[in-house]
């Protein structure tokens, strides 16, 4: 048998380079475009899928069946997937109503203000392991490591989400909306504190706040093990930040109709609604990055680009499912209970966790 000589065309050419060459783009530019598309469309499509998961999943959790009637061409029901499309179409075709005494500017601005922070938060989160191709390193996050913003960026952007709620509430000129907006702002501000302290503890143990560093520091042990209290606090606060049950005081449909969403219809409502789900995706990604090793796979040191992206996706999907799961398990808190939990339980817990981590680091020297 003749020895196999490496043929000239079998030299590994990175596929990204091939496509980039075909498009007459520099590989960096091409990779940037790909990343922008992934970061923009990924959470968006995940959020759309999540609406399906929420409806069918909640149905299954409650021994129901859920929407399964929408069908493509009246024939293929596909487990109710076409419901997403049907809902989108319906939202487009509905009358776009602005209530007569609403503040028109705020009313128009609110869906954008709600949607943008939700969609932007994903930009720094690495969704896979950086890989070497040719002589370049490609990072799987929209902003490369060492951009100086690190994990502070999604926190800051996430905190902006409250403006969407407030603008919607104030712009609607509706009592229910105002009540919802007031509750939401109080809730978000209260929980922001505990959340930030929990994240600070992670920064402390990592020694930096860049998400790549945070993931790197979880090489052997995921953060959730030494900081289980911090994780619980952070996860709880994420429910408050996304305005999901058991903390959905901004909506509270049994108390204040639909809260800040009361006056919204058609595509504006769809945008607000979708931004809630994008928030969930972003929150899940944050939890995965901060406490569950981001793209890390257990017992695999270097998972490589494909496996790492899959692992990250699996984690995000899992936590998104937990959001849905919890929503259909727990009843809503009372407002004073919410405040008590935020200020008297979560904040001290978070602070305690922070001090404990600081002490441990001090002991280790």
């Amino acid at each position: 048998m003749p020895t196999q000589r490496p043929r000239p065309w079998s030299r590994p050419i990175p596929p990204a380079t091939v496509i980039a060459r075909a498009l007459h783009l520099a590989p960096e530019t091409f990779w940037m475009v790909v990343k922008v598309l992934i970061v923009l469309l990924g959470p968006l499509s995940l959020a759309a899928l999540l609406t399906w998961v929420e409806r069918r999943g909640s149905a299954m959790l409650q021994d129901r069946i859920g929407p399964n009637r929408a069908a493509i061409l009246g024939r293929w029901r596909l487990l109710g997937f076409p419901q997403i499309v049907a809902d989108g179409l319906k939202a487009f075709l509905k009358e776009d109503l602005v209530p007569p005494h609403a503040n028109r500017v705020l009313f128009w601005l609110a869906p954008i203000l709600a949607f943008l922070p939700a969609a932007l938060g994903f930009a720094v989160i690495p969704f896979g392991q950086s890989f070497q191709s040719g002589d370049r390193t490609y990072h799987m996050s929209l902003l490369d490591p060492g951009n100086g913003m690190g994990m502070l960026y999604p926190m800051a952007i996430g905190a902006l989400a409250v403006y969407g709620v407030l603008a919607a509430a104030w712009g609607s000129n509706n009592k229910w909306s105002i009540l919802g907006g007031m509750r939401a702002s109080a809730q978000m501000v209260s929980y922001e504190l505990a959340m930030s302290l929990a994240v600070l503890a992670v920064f402390l143990t990592t020694g930096g706040y860049d998400p790549h560093e945070i993931i790197e520091s979880q090489r052997g042990l995921w953060n959730v093990v030494p900081q289980v209290v911090g994780f619980l606090v952070f996860f709880t606060c994420m429910f408050a930040e996304t305005g999901r049950l058991p903390f959905d005081f901004a909506e509270g449909e049994s108390e204040i109709v639909a809260g800040y969403l009361t006056e919204f219809g058609s595509m504006k409502f769809a945008l607000m609604y979708l931004s809630e789900y994008i928030h969930i995706v972003t929150a899940s990604a944050l939890v995965a990055t901060l406490y569950f090793g981001g793209w890390r796979v257990p017992f695999v040191a270097d998972p490589g680009p494909i496996l790492s992206v899959l692992a990250f996706l699996a984690k995000v999907v899992f936590f998104a499912w937990v959001f849905v799961w919890v929503r259909w398990t727990l009843p809503r808190f009372r407002y004073d209970q919410l405040m008590r939990l935020g200020w008297k339980v979560l904040l001290p817990l978070s602070l305690g966790n922070f001090l404990l981590q600081a002490f441990l680091i001090y002991r280790r020297g």
Binding site: L61, D63, W325
Partner: protein, 183 residues
């Protein structure tokens, strides 16, 4: 008498809130697993227009006016059902007929008009109870809907034919004997 509400003593584990939440989530997830692994035919939901529920015995649905084998109506227009009806939705007009048939024995009266306003009927079944001749039954059909109010007024022939197809009987539109006052 005042009710004394007992305060539930929570253990420290319950006070953590995390543990009860996990327990609750386990319960809901159990339901999720059970529901998702059950074939859809065996789930609680009956997917209505495709599948229909078999109504239990004694269900009070749409009425039927019973007939004899020769197609003569069993009702003798005694007005008992109309009297008993709490919704006052039965309208009967009686008529005489002379030509006694074998099956009908010695009856000589029957309804010329027998109308039930199904929009007013409350399906209480009192008419069935009141009827001395067992001529009116409430049976299992519950799919009563129409595009206009008029088609919910069931006449004599509608009521005699409500279950004709189901029972494999002929649809009737005529009495076997003509109506005629006795000479």
């Amino acid at each position: 008498m005042a009710v004394i509400v007992k305060k539930v003593e929570l253990s420290w584990l319950d006070r953590t809130y995390v543990w009860p939440v996990l327990k609750g989530m386990a319960i809901t997830f159990g339901h999720f697993l059970r529901q998702i692994t059950t074939p859809s035919r065996k789930r609680f939901t009956i997917q209505y227009p495709d599948w229909k529920k078999e109504m239990p015995e004694g269900y009070r649905g749409l009425h039927e006016l019973k007939r004899f084998e020769d197609g003569a109506i069993k009702c003798v227009a005694c007005f008992m059902c109309a009297e008993a009806c709490p919704a006052r939705c039965i309208t009967i007009e009686a008529e005489e007929f002379s030509d006694l048939t074998h099956t009908q024995g010695f009856e000589e009266k029957r309804p010329k008009v027998f109308k039930i306003d199904m929009l007013r009927c409350i399906y209480c079944g009192y008419c069935e109870e009141a009827c001395p001749k067992d001529a009116i039954w409430l049976r299992k059909d519950y799919e009563l809907a129409a595009y206009d109010r008029l088609s919910m007024q069931y006449g004599k022939w509608d009521l005699m034919n409500t279950y004709a197809d189901q029972d494999g009987k002929l649809r009737l539109s005529e009495d076997p004997t003509p109506a005629a006052p006795r000479p």
